[in-house]
Symmetry: D2
Subunit: 350 residues, 4 copies
C-alpha cells in the first residue's frame, strides 16, 4: 500500500465521514454532473441520498445486498457514455452494512477498458488502514476515511486524500462550497499555516499516535494480514453455527466486518439486544432493507485474536438465549482452528 504523498493532498476536517463525502463531491464535481454509483447497501444509500441533495445526476447501479459492484453493467455504462458525460464513478470500498468489499483494481480496469476519464471517488471509511488499498496503482482520485475506524481514534476527523487530477477539478467545478472548500486549505498549505480555521489539536495528536502504532509498531502489512485472519476466523465460526455470511461470494468477503444472516423465524435484533444487555457485547444492527435479517460482527481496528474469540463466544451465548440451536463452543472452536495456524508471534516479543 502506498500513499502518494508527493502527488496528493490530504485534508483533515473536523467532521464525520458524511462530511468527508460532501467534501469529496463538492470539490470535484459541478451541480448536475452525472455520476455512476453502485448501490450495495445502506451506506451507499446514504451517500446516494446525499448526492441527490447536493444536486448531482446520479446513475445508480443496483446490486442485491450482499453482492459487490456489478462490473459488467459498470463497463457497459462507461462504454456507452461516448460523450463522457459521466464525471465520476463513486464506489464504497467496503460496504459496512453488508460486509462486502469491492475489488477496486477491477473498477479501475473497467474505467481503463472503456477509456473513460471519469474521476474514481472512493469511500474508504472502513477500509483504509485495515484493507489493502492502493491509491497510486488503482489511480484513485479521492479516497476518504474517518478517525473512528481503522485509526482506532475517537470520532471527529474526516480525512480526504486527493489526486492531482482531483485537485485540478477543484479549481474549476461550480459546486457551492463553504466549510469544506479545499481551496481554502490549499491556500493555507501554500502559506505554511495549514489550517484555515481552528484545528482540533487533540485529534491531531491522536492521529500522530495512531499512525505511529500502525506504521512503526505493528506495521501496515501485518495489520492488513491480521484483519484478513480475524475475518476468516469469524466466517469459520458463522459456518459452524449453521448460518451464512451476508457476502454472497467469497470474493466479496470483508476483512473488517462480517454480516451474519439469521433464519427467517428469528429477528436479528433480538440477538443484538441480548448480547448488549447480558454480555456487554455491541453487535451491529441490520440497516435499511436487511433490518432484522442480519447482525454484524465488527473486527476492525486495534483488536486481537482473543478479543475476537471472546466476542464470538458472546454471539454463541446470545444465539442460544434467543432459541437458536447453536452448539456452544462450536464457532469458537472453528475460529480457533483457523487462528491457531495463522497467528504469528508478536514482533516486539520475539
Amino acid at each position: 500500500m502506498t500513499y502518494p504523498l508527493q502527488t496528493c493532498c490530504s485534508f483533515n476536517r473536523k467532521a464525520t465521514c458524511t462530511g468527508a463525502w460532501e467534501s469529496t463531491l463538492t470539490n470535484t464535481l459541478s451541480p448536475g454532473d452525472k455520476i455512476i454509483v453502485p448501490c450495495l447497501g445502506q451506506f451507499a444509500v446514504i451517500w446516494i441520498n446525499l448526492m441527490k441533495r447536493l444536486n448531482f445526476d446520479v446513475d445508480v447501479i443496483e446490486s442485491e445486498w450482499g453482492e459487490g459492484v456489478n462490473l459488467d453493467i459498470l463497463l457497459q455504462k462507461l462504454q456507452a457514455d461516448r460523450s463522457h458525460a459521466v464525471k465520476a464513478v463513486c464506489v464504497v470500498h467496503n460496504e459496512t452494512s453488508t460486509g462486502v468489499t469491492n475489488d477496486l483494481g477491477l473498477v479501475r480496469k473497467s474505467l481503463d477498458e472503456a477509456g473513460h476519464p471519469a474521476l474514481l471517488l472512493v469511500d474508504g471509511v472502513s477500509s483504509v488502514g485495515a484493507i489493502d488499498f492502493r491509491m497510486d496503482e488503482w489511480r484513485v482520485d479521492v479516497a476518504l476515511t474517518g478517525s473512528q475506524k481503522a485509526l482506532s481514534l475517537p470520532t471527529g476527523l474526516g480525512i480526504v486524500c486527493a489526486s492531482p487530477k482531483a485537485l485540478e477539478a477543484c479549481k474549476h467545478v461550480k459546486s457551492t462550497r463553504g466549510y469544506f472548500d479545499w481551496r481554502e486549505y490549499l491556500e493555507c498549505y501554500k502559506a505554511g499555516t495549514y489550517w484555515p480555521y481552528t484545528p482540533s489539536v487533540q485529534m491531531l495528536y491522536g492521529l500522530r499516535a495512531s499512525l505511529d502504532l500502525i506504521l512503526k509498531v505493528e506495521g501496515l502489512e501485518n495489520i492488513i494480514a491480521r484483519h484478513l485472519r480475524l475475518a476468516e476466523a469469524t466466517r469459520e465460526a458463522v459456518k459452524a453455527w449453521g448460518l451464512t455470511v451476508s457476502a454472497k461470494k467469497p470474493e466479496w468477503d470483508s476483512a473488517v466486518v462480517t454480516g451474519v444472516v439469521v433464519p427467517p423465524w428469528l429477528d436479528s435484533n433480538d440477538v443484538i439486544k441480548i448480547a448488549w444487555k447480558k454480555y456487554n457485547l455491541s453487535l451491529g444492527v441490520g440497516l435499511g432493507k436487511v433490518a432484522g435479517k442480519l447482525f454484524r460482527i465488527g473486527h476492525l481496528g486495534y483488536m486481537n485474536e482473543l478479543q475476537l474469540l471472546g466476542a464470538l463466544a458472546g454471539v454463541e451465548l446470545s444465539l442460544k438465549d434467543v432459541g437458536y440451536p447453536v452448539v456452544l463452543g462450536s464457532g469458537v472452536a472453528a475460529a480457533q482452528g483457523c487462528l491457531s495456524k495463522q497467528t504469528p508471534l508478536i514482533a516486539s516479543r520475539l
Copy 2:
C-alpha cells in the same frame, strides 16, 4: 440568561464554528436571499466571505474596526426595505478580532422599530457562556457557538440553537444542504435516535462536564461577572501602560478579549513574538487590516484573577523587551486595584 429549551432546538455537529455558520445560513435562507451584515472585524469578514461563496446577496454595513454595529444605518436599511426583501440580519455578538461586543438588545430594537420580520442570526462563538446572552428576550433566531471558547473544551463541536421561526424556515428554504442539514437531525430527534451519523462521544462527555462546571459549580451569573471583572482589570492595565484598547467606546468593550493598540512605530507582532518565545505567553495577533497594529489579550473561559495578572505581567515584560517605555508593574498594579475591590470569595471555600 435563559435558554428556551422548550421552544428551540440545538444541534451539535462535529465541526468548527465555520461549520456552524454554514449550518445556520443554509438551513434558514435560500440562495440569492438578501441579508444585512455589519462588518466589524476579521471574523465578520470571514463570515461575509462565506456568505458570498454560499450565494447569498450580502448587504454589508461597514464600521471602522473597533466600533460596534452602526445601528442608525441598520435601522435605515430595515425601514427602507418595505418589501421585506431582507431575510436575515447577521450579527457577530462579540467580534474577537477587535474586542468589540455589540448590544444585541439594540439590534433587536432596530428590527422591531422597523417592524421588520427578518431573522436575527447571531455568531455567539466567543460570547455564549461568558457574556450575558438572552435568546428569548432578544428573540434571537439562531445562535451559534463552538466547544473551544467559553465551554473550555477542545475544538470539535459547532453548536447551533434555533428558534421555532428558524426551524420553520428550515423546511422551506432552498439552499443546498448535505452534512449540515437540520432536517436529518430533526428526524432523528423525533425518532429518539438523536444522531443521523456517528456522534463524537468524547466531546459530548466533555460538554456534560463543562456544563456542570458552568451551571452547577461556579454558576452562570458568577461566570459572567468574572469575565466582566477580568476585562475591566485588563483595560485598567492597558491604560496604565499608556496604550489604548481597540474598542472605540466603553459601550463596546468586550468581556472576553481586549485588543491593545500599539504606537505606530511599534509592530504588534514583535510584542507577540517575544511573549511567545521568552515568556510562553500566547497573545492574539492583529488580523486583517489591523495586522501589526494591535495585539489581543484573551480572558475567556476557565480562567481566574491570578492567571490574568500573570499574563499582564508577561505583556509588560514583552513591551519592555521591544523597547516600549513601560513601567514594570504599572499595569499589574492597576489591574490589582480593580480586582481587589471586586473579587468575591470562592463559594465552595466559604
Copy 3:
C-alpha cells in the same frame, strides 16, 4: 459483607501489600511474639520470611500446596498453648499462588473453640472486594489489601483495617515503627488532618471512583456472585481440557484465580510464554515450589464473561501450541454452559 466503620480504623498508605503486611505486624505485635502462620503457598512464604526478618517467633503450619489451612493442627496448637504465648494467627484469605481460599469462619471457630485470645490477622490482598469477607462476623482484627486487586486501581495503596482490639494493641506493643506507625495516623485522625505526610491524592480519587463502581454501580453482592460465576466457568474449562485445578478440594476453590496443573511432561512456563508472545495473554507463573508445574488464570476485578471466555480460548490455543492434546473450543464450551445459566442481565440495561 460488612465493614465496621464505627469500630475500626482504616489506614491508606502509599505502599504495596508487603508494606501493609509490615504495617499490620509491627503495630499489633512486639519482637519475639509468637505467631501461628499456616503456609499454603508462595505468598505465605514471603510473609513468613518478612515475619522472621521483623523478629517474630513464627510457628508455621505447613500444608501441601493446593490445600487450605490445616484446621486440626491449628486447633491443637491453640489448645496446647495454655499460657497464651501465641499472640496472633496470621492467615492468607486467598492464596494467590495456588488458587486456594480459606474459610475464615472456620479459623475463627478454632480460636473460639480453644478459647484463645490471639489476634486474627488476615491477608485479604486478593479477596477483599471480590470474595465474601466478614470483618465483624469473623472478628478479624486486621484485614489488609492493596489497590491493584479487586479495587482495579494502579498499584500504590496498601490498605489496612484494624479492629478496636488491634488498635489497643498498637498502643502497647514494642515493635520499632517508623513510616508505618499507626499512632501518627490516629493522631492526625483526631486532629482532622488525616495524613501525617503527603498523601497520594490521585490514588485517593481513584479509590473514590472504584468504591463508587463497587458499591453504587454494580453492587458488592453482585460482584461477589460474578467472581464465583467466572471461577466456576474457569474450572469447568479446566476439567474439559482434561487438566486439574491446583486447589485440592472444592471447598478451597478460589473465586479470583485458578491454578491449572499441567502434566509432568509439560513445563507450565512454556504455556505462559506462548500465551504472552503469540496471544498477548498474561497468565500467572507457578511460584516457588510449583514453578513449572502450574499456570494461573486470574479472574479478579473489573472483568466480565466475554473477557474470561477470550482468555480461556487463548489458553486452549497456547496448550495446543505446546503440544498438549486439547480439543479447541472444549473449555470455552464448558465455561459457556456454566455462564449461560448463571449470567444475569446487566442491571443498568434492563
Copy 4:
C-alpha cells in the same frame, strides 16, 4: 550535576519521602548507632523524631530556624569523636519549612577536615532536580527524594540513591528491615527482575516522562538556573513589600521555596486563608515553631516566570486584604525587574 550511575544504586519504592528516610537509615545504620543531625526546621524535626523511634542515638545540632547547618559545631563534634562512634551525618539539603539551603560541599569539607569516616546521608526531597546537587563531588552516601517535588509527578515514589560505601554498610548493619530492605532489591537487580514486589507501573512511566522533560527537553542546567532566577525574583518582591525572607543570610537562600516573615501584629495564617479562599492560591503555612509567623511561596518544579508573577500578585492582594500596607504591584515590579534581565529565550522556540 552528575549522578554516578555506575557506582551507585537507586531504589524506587512506593512510599513518601518519610518512607525514603526510613529506608535510608535502616539500611545503613544499626540500632543505637550515633548520628549527628543539624536541626534547621520542621522537616528536620520530623526526621529526628523518626530517627529516635527507629532507636538511633541522635546528636542534634540546633540552629535558629532560618539558619543553615552550624558548621563550626559540626566540625568540633566530628573532631571530638576520636573513636568514630558517630556513624552518620544526616543533613536536609533544602529545609522546606524555612526556605534554607545548605552548602553540602562545606559539610563534606568538615567531614574531610576531621578525617571522619561517617556516612553522609542527605535529604534531597526538595532539592534534587532543582538545586545543584553533586553526588560524586560531595561524596554523598545516600541521597533521597520523592516524586512530587522537582520531578513534578504525583506523590507516590520515594527514591533513594546509595553509594558503594552505603551499599556495603547495608550488608552488615543490624536494623530491622522489612518492606524497605535494600537487600531484596539488590537480589532482584542481580536476577534482572528488578522488583521484589508489584511495582507501581504508572509512576514509572511518569518518571520516564519527567526525566525526559528534565534531561532532554529543558536540560538540568537550565532548570537549576530557572529555579535560581525565580527565587531571586521572589526575594526582590518580598523586599519591595517591606518584609523579610526567613533565611537569615543570603548564603542560605533557597532556590525552591521562600519563607516570608510577617510583622508580629499579623497572623501569617490569615494571609494564607484569604489567598486560598479568594484567589485560589496555595501558600505554605509556617510549621512548628514558626506557625503564624511566616508563610511560604513555593517555586519548585515545572513552573515558569509568569506563573510566579501571578502568584506574587496574589500574595500582594492577600496582604492588602488582611490589612498589611502593601503597594499593589510593588513586588511584581521588583520581580519583573529581576526576571527581565535574566530570562532566556525558550530553546525550542528560537
